[in-house]
């Protein structure tokens, strides 16, 4: 649905306030920026309370934050930190309700894609003044990550992790199929040829997929992004005012994606299957039901530990012939500060503590992601594993989704047409034309 004409009716404010007070306050639990008391500039925040929401419920992340990071911060500042971990699917609904009820947390953890809408509605602080005061050396060290948290050149989020979607492949399967695991494919065309050799079938059933790309909703857009960017295409024009994913590069990328499932020789037998949420041991490339799989690169450490006999490695990001490599990723989830927080300086202290090199490295390690510090490439964690070196070296090729208001709506609108193309129910060109048309409508509506 689109926004239409607006006629303010002030008398509704009372009703809205009453209902919001009754229904939303009851629904939203703790997390009240308004009961935190005075802020402190000095770091002595005794008696103050900082409310923080982190996205996701990773056991390792919760343990690190609750048992190490927060106690250290509380000891250093004297403040009390109330941390809540919110499941990703519940995060936006809960946060939006909390904003409406005035109970949003002081520090908001979210994905980069959420930043633009929150900034457009003036719900999060412009962090320029805080970032300007950072140690210049540290600021330079995380400058790539900081750019990912900007909307229109203004920083609203400090990302905590870096990500890059890379192909993990089984050296054992490569050897078995007569391929050289030391010389993995360098282009998507070569990846497809290798996938054909690696695919194992029982009659017309694929029992081992040669290549797996995420094809379920949301993941399909991210997989398509990887193909699109590595073919020189993009979703929106430079100023974000027009959809351009239906370019010839986009059509070629989607045709490649659809051909993994359709045609005479499909190589991916898991169309629409939600494998990304499976435990590590059940991931197809770990369990041996896939030979190449597009994954978040930092996860390679857990994959290798779970299946040492599979000889799992990371492939540098491929490109379509004649194009530069590109992949979905870049700065991942990060922290923002509630514009209504009564303790913004304390909130910033917490954010700053999370990006201290040692803390951030430990945090990224626990999440199975990559740290935001460029200097982390020299850390023992990275240098001890050649696959992680490959992952860090791939970061310059990683792109994030466009950070524009209404992106979630655009992504979902596009996702349905991508699904139709992957299922062979729409021609890639037609699917992308319809995607572009709907995305243009969303841009025009200014949502």
């Amino acid at each position: 649905m689109r926004r239409t004409r607006r006629v303010p009716v002030r008398t509704w404010t009372g009703i809205a306030a009453a209902v919001a007070a009754v229904s939303l306050v009851a629904a939203c639990g703790s997390g009240n920026a308004g009961d935190s008391g005075e802020d402190s500039d000095s770091g002595d925040a005794s008696g103050e309370t900082l409310v923080v929401w982190f996205p996701g419920k990773s056991e390792a992340e919760m343990a690190l934050v609750n048992d190490t990071i927060v106690p250290a911060f509380e000891e250093e500042t004297g403040a009390q930190v109330e941390v809540t971990f919110v499941d990703w699917p519940d995060l936006s609904p809960k946060l939006n309700a909390a904003f409406a009820a005035g109970t949003a947390p002081d520090v908001i953890g979210h994905g980069v894609a959420a930043t633009a809408d929150l900034a457009a509605n003036e719900r999060v602080l412009d962090l320029s003044s805080y970032i300007d005061e950072m140690d210049p050396e540290l600021r330079d060290d995380i400058s790539v990550a900081l750019e990912g948290g900007e909307v229109g050149g203004t920083p609203y989020m400090v990302p905590l992790i870096m990500t890059a979607r890379l192909l993990v492949y089984s050296g054992a399967d490569f050897t078995e199929a007569g391929l050289d695991p030391e010389a993995p494919p360098a282009t998507w065309e070569e990846v497809h040829e290798a996938a054909e050799q690696l695919t194992v079938r029982d009659d017309d059933q694929i029992t081992r997929s040669g290549l797996l790309l995420g094809s379920q909703p949301i993941a399909n857009q991210q997989s398509f992004a990887t193909l699109l960017w590595s073919n020189g295409g993009d979703f929106l024009n430079e100023d974000g005012t027009e959809a351009v994913m239906n370019s010839p590069e986009g059509v070629e990328a989607l045709q490649y994606f659809a051909d993994l499932y359709q045609g005479e020789d499909p190589v991916d037998g898991m169309l629409g299957v939600e494998w990304s949420a499976l435990p590590v041991g059940e991931q197809p490339v770990v369990a041996g039901t896939a030979s190449m799989q597009l994954v978040s690169a930092g996860a390679i450490v857990d994959y290798q530990a779970a299946a040492p006999d599979r000889d799992l490695r990371l492939m540098p990001p491929p490109a379509f012939e004649g194009s530069e490599p590109g992949t979905f990723g870049g700065p991942g989830n990060g922290l923002m500060i509630n514009a209504d927080s009564e303790v913004p300086d304390l909130a910033w202290e917490f954010v700053a503590s999370m990006v201290e090199p040692e803390t951030n490295l430990a945090y990224a390690q626990e999440l199975g992601q990559l740290p935001i510090h460029a200097s982390a490439i020299d850390s023992d964690y990275i240098t001890s594993n050649p696959a992680l070196v490959t992952a860090v070296e791939a970061l310059p090729y990683a792109h994030g989704n466009p950070n524009v208001p209404g992106w979630v709506q655009m992504r979902d609108a596009m996702g349905q047409h991508l699904e139709r193309a992957l299922h062979g129910e729409a021609d890639p060109a037609e699917a992308l034309d319809q995607s572009a048309s709907e995305v243009d409508e969303i841009i025009a509506a200014g949502s």
Binding site: M1, R6, I15
Partner: protein
């Protein structure tokens, strides 16, 4: 009067006011992120709904979902109620066993069925045991809504059976004796005595099932998230995405009231049909 006040307050504060506020929102443009609050836009949200292809599709899917669950769940529940209306050893256990699914929350049950339908889940294990190929129950357009419907039929059986059993036990025994004396066989007794006697309860069961099924959400949210490519996006799931993913509370509220109008209309028709046959 004093004793009624707490319950009345509860109904007013937690039911009447939210519904009334929802109605107000349906005539407004409102995002919870917007500091300005709701802004009146008249009938625009309702006008948009009737030109919105995704809403029309969701209405169709919701209708199909109701129509492919309702007849099966009522018919099977009636058969089970007839069975459990007899006296045999273990009838209590039989009735309890059938009612158990109703006691468990729909969300929890859906989680169990998510595994049952998974690639290595119970259904595919049974197929494998029988030498048949495994199927993708929740990720193909043809199978997803049917798979959700099968789960919902199972889930609704218990409550429907208990209600119909209660209805069966209100049918006077002497009517059966009279029918038998007139030479009626079992089928004739069912048609001439059981069904007319059960009609008020059947009407109630059908009406309540229409109301609950048309509001199907938890099972969709857990099992399919509205996919694949929208083939299980019911109106309630569309309302959820509109309100909580896209922050369009106004249009989501309008959708909710249009859905309410359709449910009310179909329920009234079902009740009228039931009453008409009885009279």
């Amino acid at each position: 009067m004093l004793f009624v006040i707490p319950a009345a307050l509860y109904v007013v504060v937690f039911q009447f006011i939210p519904v009334a506020y929802g109605l107000v929102l349906s005539f407004s443009d409102y995002s919870p992120l917007d500091r300005g609050g709701p802004e009146f836009i008249g009938w625009d949200n309702y006008a948009s709904i009737f030109t919105d292809a995704s809403f029309a599709r969701a209405m169709g899917i919701t209708g199909r979902y109701v129509l492919q669950v309702l007849p099966f769940t009522v018919a099977i529940a009636l058969g089970l109620a007839l069975l459990s209306n007899r006296v045999f050893r273990g009838v209590g256990l039989f009735r309890t066993g059938l009612y158990v699914p109703h006691v468990v929350s729909l969300t929890a049950v859906s989680m169990v069925w998510l595994w049952i339908y998974s690639d290595s889940g119970l259904v595919n294990q049974v197929l494998d045991f029988l030498g048949l190929a495994p199927q993708r129950w929740l990720t193909t357009q043809d199978a997803a809504l049917n798979a959700v419907s099968a789960m919902r039929i199972w889930k609704a059986l218990g409550s429907n059976m208990v209600l119909l059993l209660a209805g069966l036990q209100t049918v006077p025994k002497d009517l059966y004796e009279a029918a038998r004396m007139d030479g009626a066989n079992a089928w004739q007794q069912f048609r001439a005595v059981t069904l007319p006697g059960l009609r008020p309860m059947l009407t109630y069961v059908v009406a309540m099932d229409i109301i609950f099924l048309a509001q199907g959400f938890p099972e969709i949210f857990v099992l399919t998230q509205g996919g694949p490519y929208g083939s299980t996006t019911t109106v309630n799931y569309l309302i959820y995405t509109e309100a909580f993913q896209y922050n369009q509370m106004g249009s989501a509220s309008a959708m909710a009231f249009v859905l309410f109008a359709f449910i009310a209309a179909f329920t009234i028709v079902a009740i009228r049909v039931g009453q008409g046959r009885r009279s």
